[in-house]
């Protein structure tokens, strides 16, 4: 029965080198949950169910509680992000300089809402609050790379370049 419990839905039998290493690195105390989730998010680009199961077992925290934590913090996502994750800053400094227009255009072009990924897995959109580059407002980032003094035209150029690269 012990063995069976570890079998997860994705067919990997719960074994994963990254998760094994993660568990070695951190002590099995509950306080480490957020630290470990941060690493999981970084590694996979989202928090897969199997990682939640492994952490639940390791830290002796119920799955429901882990799910509660994952959904509470905006950095954790339950779905994989696109190959290009575009985050538009909606902090006040960017808002005042018109970042909403950038967001509207992005939604219009990709036909998805913030938090979603395009069907082909290429793009996802995210709302973020202040990346700290207020001097360049409005800004958006593509996989962490900052594009400052953004305009709708600049966004279009970037999107065209990114989709062109793939074709």
């Amino acid at each position: 029965m012990e063995e069976e419990k570890k079998v997860c839905q994705c067919g990997c039998n719960g074994r994963d080198e990254f998760l094994d290493k993660l568990c070695e690195e951190y002590k099995p105390i509950k306080d480490n949950l957020i630290q470990m989730l941060n690493e999981v998010q970084e590694h996979y680009g989202y928090v897969p169910i199997k990682a939640q199961e492994v952490l639940s077992e390791y830290l002796k925290v119920p799955m429901a509680e882990i799910y509660g934590v994952v959904t509470f913090y905006s950095r954790f996502t339950l779905k994989p992000k696109g190959k290009y994750n575009i985050a538009v800053c909606l902090g006040t400094a960017c808002y005042v300089k018109g970042s909403q227009k950038i967001m509207d255009r992005l939604k219009e072009r990709l036909k998805i809402e913030p938090g979603e990924t395009t069907k082909d897995g290429m793009f996802s959109i995210e709302e973020t609050r202040c990346v700290g580059a207020c001097g360049l407002a409005p800004v958006f980032t593509v996989n962490g790379e900052v594009y400052g003094k953004a305009t709708v035209q600049k966004l279009d150029q970037v999107l065209n370049a990114l989709s062109g690269k793939e074709e």
């Binding site: 509950k30 306080d31 480490n32 949950l33 957020i34 630290q35 989730l37 941060n38 998010q41 509660g68 934590v69 509470f72 913090y73 905006s74 950095r75 954790f76 909606l90 902090g91 006040t92 400094a93 960017c94 808002y95 005042v96 300089k97 973020t128 609050r129 202040c130 990346v131 700290g132 580059a133 207020c134 001097g135 360049l136 407002a137 800004v139 900052v146 400052g148």
Partner: protein, 619 residues
């Protein structure tokens, strides 16, 4: 491990070597090229600039010139910034391609690259950073080392009096004396609420326990504020040193710093500072030959604004959802894992070492009656000089926006300034001369907050702004208590109605009523202050709310449902530029005729407005 004598030696030798950083008349043949590596400049390729400089210097075989990364210089709008010391020449908007010219002209030929000098708002060209109007009214205490030292090098920090305050505290002062000094300085919490720091230390010290904690709150969630990030990026050791001083004063041996994961550079530099301090034996056991021990750990936030609230932050460090606890007990009595915990903000900590070194009297001589010292503001929005400013308390808003900030761009008018982020309020033009301190900001319906200062010009709709902040609070409310979770949602719905032209006068009354209820019944600071943006805009821009509700009119273009763009036939010269630029062909009229906008087709994008050379189009 370094002994105290070794550290003294490093200080003495390094200080001599780095004299050219602060002394324009330094007696040296060396030159230092300082390249800003704050987040703003890093985003516009400053690491590439640094690499290019190094590469070119190597190619040309130039010696006696060092290229150094520093923290933020403050004037982010002109970034990337490069400064050459000792002559203190200030180059703005530098690109990686400019490096060759700077080296050839400035370093080799000894001439200034005129085209890269910064133009001040009044049109004068300045050679030195300090000559800019932006810096004239500033006083740098918390940001003293930012832009001077390499934040990733502990020796440079030590050279500029680093860890001297800690040494003095450990070897010459009792914990009581430290607390007395901080109390006498009049320093108050820079996180927003302004609780006297010395008093907080004293209370935490007063509780007996087997374990106590020092926590540094670096969860800077206020959108548009980046003071704490810049301090951590530009001078991480000063925060670390101050945390240790606090540990000594209250009797704690363990510290945590809670940083937003969205600040990767700050996290990296602070971690590096911890590692270096450990290596030097400054963190660890028997610090400076005393029996004091201390250690610090970094904890990453995961994107929740509410975690800036102290008890929510503690919950988050404990690995749980960041929901605030009911107070009392305050963290000073029962904080992390139920132990007495001292929580201070980054900027508060950044002031501590300076107070210890320069004395409480010096610090309390700066500022106003009730608010001492300086405050760092992240100046942003519709203002010319976007960046980080540190001013003495009591400076007026007008001085910050117009003298330091250089006024409003594009010839627009000042409409309001917003301080305190989603917990603060809007300050209209009639209160521009209010001196900035904790009390006077509160009197006019705003608050100091952590230091975000967003300027808005007359194209901004105040109802929309209130809506923007409520959207933020609704998505960031943790959901623990009902008034905040449901109340803010109801307020947002009303504001949406107003912006869509579906509101009535009764809605304004409901907004006011809800604001009072939410403020009175929420358990934490986030909920209690959530209605502030609405209350303060209602107080100063009531007419605008009324226009939205009754006349169904928005004087700006922000509420699309309520605005109407028209062409003034008197001013229209029939040039047709508007027609050419309109994306939906809503402008009708033949060549050289006066144009008319077809209101059915118009999407109110405002493109025609910006393209009309005769200012004939208005709303």
């Amino acid at each position: 491990m370094k002994t105290l004598e070794e550290i003294h030696k490093i200080r003495e030798e390094k200080r001599k070597e780095l004299d050219l950083r602060v002394n324009t008349k330094a007696d040296t043949r060396e030159k230092h090229i300082l390249v800003c590596h704050g987040t703003g400049c890093t985003s516009s390729k400053s690491p590439e600039i640094l690499e290019n400089f190094r590469k070119i210097l190597k190619e040309k075989n130039i010696e006696n010139v060092r290229v150094i990364m520093t923290g933020c210089f403050g004037l982010c709008a002109k970034g990337p910034i490069v400064i050459i010391r000792p002559e203190d020449t200030f180059y703005s908007n530098v690109t990686p391609e400019d490096c060759e010219e700077i080296i050839q002209t400035h370093i080799v030929e000894g001439k200034i690259v005129e085209r890269l000098l910064c133009k001040d708002i009044d049109g004068t060209i300045v050679n030195r950073l300090d000559d800019l109007n932006f810096y004239k009214k500033q006083k740098r205490i918390a940001l003293k080392n930012c832009g001077v030292i390499n934040p990733e090098c502990i020796d440079e920090y030590i050279a500029f009096d680093g860890y001297r305050a800690l040494e003095r505290v450990l070897r010459e002062m009792t914990p009581e004396e430290v607390i007395e000094t901080i109390k006498a300085s009049g320093l108050r919490g820079r996180g927003g609420a302004g609780f006297p720091t010395g008093k907080k230390w004293e209370i935490t010290k007063g509780y007996q326990a087997d374990q106590k904690y020092v926590v540094c709150n670096a969860d800077e969630g206020d959108p548009g504020a980046f003071m704490d990030r810049s301090i951590l990026e530009g001078d991480p050791h000063s925060v670390l040193e101050s945390m240790m001083i606090a540990g000594y004063a209250i009797g704690a041996i363990k510290g945590f710093i809670y940083v937003r994961a969205e600040y990767p550079i700050a996290v990296k530099r602070f971690q590096k500072a911890i590692d270096q301090a450990r290596e030097y034996g400054i963190l660890g056991k028997n610090i400076f030959g005393t029996n004091f021990e201390f250690d610090v750990e970094v904890r990453l936030g995961a994107g929740a604004f509410v975690c800036g609230e102290e008890t929510a932050l503690l919950e988050s460090i404990e690995g749980k959802r960041g929901q605030p606890r009911v107070k009392p007990p305050y963290p000073a009595e029962s904080g992390l894992w139920g132990k007495p915990t001292l929580i201070n903000n980054v900027e508060t900590f950044a002031n501590i070492t300076r107070i210890i070194l320069n004395g409480a009297e010096w610090y309390s001589s700066i500022g106003t009656e009730t608010s001492k010292g300086t405050k760092v503001f992240a100046l942003g929005g519709n203002v010319n000089n976007i960046g980080l400013v540190e001013v003495p308390m009591g400076t007026t808003l007008r001085e910050i926006v117009f003298d330091i900030g250089g006024g409003i761009p594009n010839g627009r008018q000042f409409k309001a300034a917003q301080t305190g982020g989603p917990s603060g309020g809007c300050i209209p033009v009639e209160h521009l001369d209010t001196p900035i301190d904790y009390e006077s900001l509160k009197t006019i319906g705003s608050m100091m907050g952590s230091g975000g200062l967003i300027v808005m010009d007359d194209t901004k709709c105040m109802v929309c702004l209130a809506k923007f902040y409520l959207e933020f609070t609704v998505s960031e409310s943790c959901g623990k208590c009902t008034p905040c979770r449901i109340g803010t949602k109801r307020m947002l719905e009303i504001l949406e109605k107003l912006c869509n032209g579906e509101g009535s006068e009764f809605d304004i009354y409901r907004l006011e009523k809800l604001a009072v209820n939410i403020q009175k019944a929420s358990i934490c600071g986030l909920g209690q202050s959530a209605p502030n943006p609405v209350s303060s805009t209602l107080k100063y821009f009531r007419e605008e709310f009324r226009q939205h509700a009754i006349e169904k009119e928005c004087k700006t273009l922000e509420c699309k449902a309520l605005s109407k763009i028209t062409i003034d036939p008197e001013k229209c010269k029939g040039c047709g530029l508007c027609q050419k630029h309109c994306p939906v062909n809503a402008i009708e009229g033949e060549a050289r005729e006066k144009r008319v906008i077809n209101q059915d087709k118009c999407i109110k994008c405002g493109t025609c407005l910006t393209n009309c050379p005769f200012h004939a189009i208005g709303n």
